[in-house]
């Protein structure tokens, strides 16, 4: 069990009388791309919100790198190295692209006010490091030329990429992507596909992915979990999932 990065057990989320998620298990190992799929309204995003600390799950456990994180607030979970994106892009729209990336490095930033007022060498060095890291990731996602553009003025696909870059500058261990391909054209989806694989292979991080684009999911996932109406339906490799009659039934209905 030691090489499990994230272990979610028996996760349950109840909103009043509505049982949104019931007994979902997830396991993400190091350097793995794991996908969560399911029909609309199946509770995938709720699982994400529970794991990343935006909801407090009713029951179950969320263990990340050997630490129990259930019920911890979102910003502390992010500091543990688990960072997420959102289904509807959430950038700081009126700030520039580079500022978005600087804000994201807040937890690595120099917070001593006096050092900042007098611009000590340590403070300057810290700022420069943050700028360099931001520049590095902007180049990786092909947005370097837009560095001083306001984030809200970028095209939709660029905003998606910026959101991923913004997560990456925090140097996470686990990146959680909530429908990253939604609204992208086929070319952009292909580029995203390559980027995600690169993140795993070159940066050595794990990725937990919610996605509807089956081509993307089946192509890159190491492990897939299927959720249907809040209940876990199946788990396995892409090949296993594609052959699973329950999954086919959930997606296409019975004959």
């Amino acid at each position: 069990m030691t090489n499990n990065l994230l272990t979610v057990k028996d996760l349950t989320m109840r909103f009043g009388g509505l049982l949104a998620v019931n007994g979902v298990d997830l396991e993400v190992k190091e350097k793995q791309i794991v996908s969560v799929i399911g029909p609309n309204g199946a509770g995938k995003t709720t699982v994400f919100n529970c794991v990343s600390g935006f909801y407090i799950p009713t029951a179950g456990s969320v263990e990340f790198r050997g630490k129990e994180l259930r019920g911890k607030p979102g910003h502390l979970i992010a500091r543990e190295g688990m960072v997420r994106t959102f289904q509807n892009v959430r950038l700081f729209k009126e700030m520039t692209v580079i500022e978005n990336l600087l804000v994201a490095q807040h937890m690595h930033a120099e917070h001593n006010l006096l050092k900042g007022f007098f611009m000590t060498p340590g403070f300057r060095k810290n700022e420069q490091e943050m700028m360099d890291r931001a520049a590095h990731w902007l180049e990786r996602v092909g947005l370097l030329e837009f560095a001083n553009r306001e984030a809200g003025n970028l095209a939709y696909g660029q905003q998606r990429r910026l959101e991923i870059a913004r997560c990456m500058v925090t140097e996470p261990k686990l990146l959680m992507l909530d429908e990253p391909a939604a609204g992208l054209n086929p070319n952009e989806t292909k580029a995203l596909d390559e980027l995600i694989v690169q993140l795993r292979d070159e940066q050595g991080i794990s990725i937990l992915l919610i996605e509807h684009d089956m081509g993307l999911v089946m192509g890159i996932s190491d492990q897939i979990y299927v959720v249907n109406q809040g209940e876990p339906l199946a788990a396995g490799t892409p090949a296993e999932i594609q052959a699973n009659p329950d999954v086919i039934k959930a997606y296409l209905g019975e004959e």
Binding site: G53, F54, P73, T85, F92, T96, H111
Partner: protein, 417 residues
């Protein structure tokens, strides 16, 4: 509705509303009040106004196309000769030098107004942190101003603390109050936050008004000493045995103008410090976090930023500037009472921030000047001040909703390797 009818209706509405406001007046006759029609002068104003409204409505499209042309150049850019940072620095130096020389070449009255303006600049800059940068609508900012003013007045009255010692304490106490207010309002946003902060400002004022044993209640506190210049007083005669006055020390004749100049220069120094500190804050992680929080709190949390500490930071730092301004205000006036800290003050400071352009420092300075100097210049229109104030706000919202000088995003150079 045709254009002529709509213009006619608009003119009629103006006539009815204006007729009551301008055309009639109440005069006392014995013990009774009687309604009288106003002087012909006011009637002319009313008539001109009605005609103006009629014409504006009639030629609305032409006027509209003109204003939309004005609106098309969305951002007022600074003149191009200020582009390089070196030239910018030179101009800044030039302006500061001019401001330092100002009291020596102008009248006492002008210096007095300038000092008042500087106080509002400071308040505007401080509130700009909370409202403009962190996006937390604070309608009770005057509460912190009051805390600062009363801190100095009370410390001096009971413990004889001098201005220079009281200044940091006043800032600290205001910051503490900002921090304390921050806690209950952490979960609130928008309108709800505005209401609670409004209440807070009123609580402070009412407390000062009613705690008569400590604060003197509505009578206020009088005879608050002026700041000293390294221990030198600006009075004609030393206030106590052994003290030296400014003119004696330098062997010059007594003039009450020295005091006015000194207060102006002090306010200028305080404003320059405030400007520098906030300018630095904006370029530091905490300043960026404030803006990020204004943009999207959920995204902030997902990136490991703690909204609680960031909000408390904004409230605390913003309040401390009001504290400094407050203690300076108390020292300058020599007399303070709860009357000076009514809601209208909060509204004026907020108007300065909105008028100047949220988050923009230069804009706030310009707006503070406009909001304090214009009413002084137009003293004869005193009665219509609120009317003009409202008109200005409405026009601003139509033509420049982003403020006089909207905040410009800092351009950050990336070193390519």
């Amino acid at each position: 509705m045709s254009r002529v009818t709509s213009a006619f209706v608009a003119a009629l509405i103006t006539l009815v509303l204006g007729g009551f406001l301008l055309g009639m007046s109440l005069t006392s006759e014995g013990i009774n009040l009687v309604v009288e029609t106003s002087t012909t002068g006011k009637m002319t104003v009313l008539f001109v106004g009605v005609v103006l409204v009629f014409l504006l409505q009639l030629f609305r499209e032409q006027v509209g196309s003109f204003t939309s042309k004005m609106r098309s150049d969305e951002r007022m850019e600074l003149p191009s000769f200020l582009r390089t940072s070196q030239q910018q620095r030179m101009w800044t130096m030039f302006v500061i030098a001019g401001l330092v020389l100002f009291p020596f070449i102008s009248s006492r009255g002008a210096v007095d107004i300038a000092t008042l303006t500087l106080i509002y600049v400071m308040l505007g800059l401080g509130l700009n942190v909370v409202v403009g940068l962190a996006g937390l609508l604070d309608l009770g900012y005057v509460g912190f101003y009051a805390v600062g003013a009363y801190s100095y007045a009370l410390l001096n009255m009971y413990f004889g603390v001098s201005f220079w010692v009281a200044l940091p304490i006043a800032g600290g106490l205001a910051a503490l109050f900002g921090f304390l207010l921050g806690f209950p309002v952490l979960r609130l946003r928008g309108d709800y936050l505005a209401i609670v902060t409004l209440g807070f400002g009123e609580i402070i004022r009412i407390l000062l008004n009613n705690w008569t044993e400590l604060t003197g209640g509505p009578n206020g506190i009088a005879r608050i000493p002026k700041p000293t210049f390294f221990g030198l007083e600006f009075n004609r005669r030393p206030s106590e045995e052994g003290a030296t006055t400014f003119h004696d020390f330098f062997g010059i004749g007594y003039s009450s103008e020295y005091k006015v100049m000194f207060l102006y220069l002090m306010a200028l120094v305080l404003v320059l410090i405030t400007l520098y500190v906030i300018r630095r804050l904006i370029r530091m992680p905490i300043g960026r976090a404030w803006e990020a929080l204004r943009e999207d709190e959920i995204a902030c949390r997902s990136l490991g930023l703690n909204p609680t500490t960031i909000k408390l930071g904004a409230f605390t730092i913003g309040a401390s500037f009001a504290g400094f301004a407050g203690s300076f205000f108390a020292a300058r006036q020599g007399f303070i009472s709860p009357e000076s800290f009514t809601f209208i003050e909060s509204a004026i400071i907020l108007a300065i921030v909105v008028l100047g352009g949220m988050g923009s420092q230069l804009g706030v300075i310009l707006a503070a000047i406009a909001m304090t100097v214009l009413p002084e210049l137009a003293r004869e229109f005193d009665e219509y001040r609120m009317l003009l104030f409202g008109l200005m706000m409405v026009l601003m919202m139509i033509w420049r909703p982003q403020g006089l000088l909207p905040m410009k995003r800092p351009h950050l150079e990336l070193k390519r390797d």
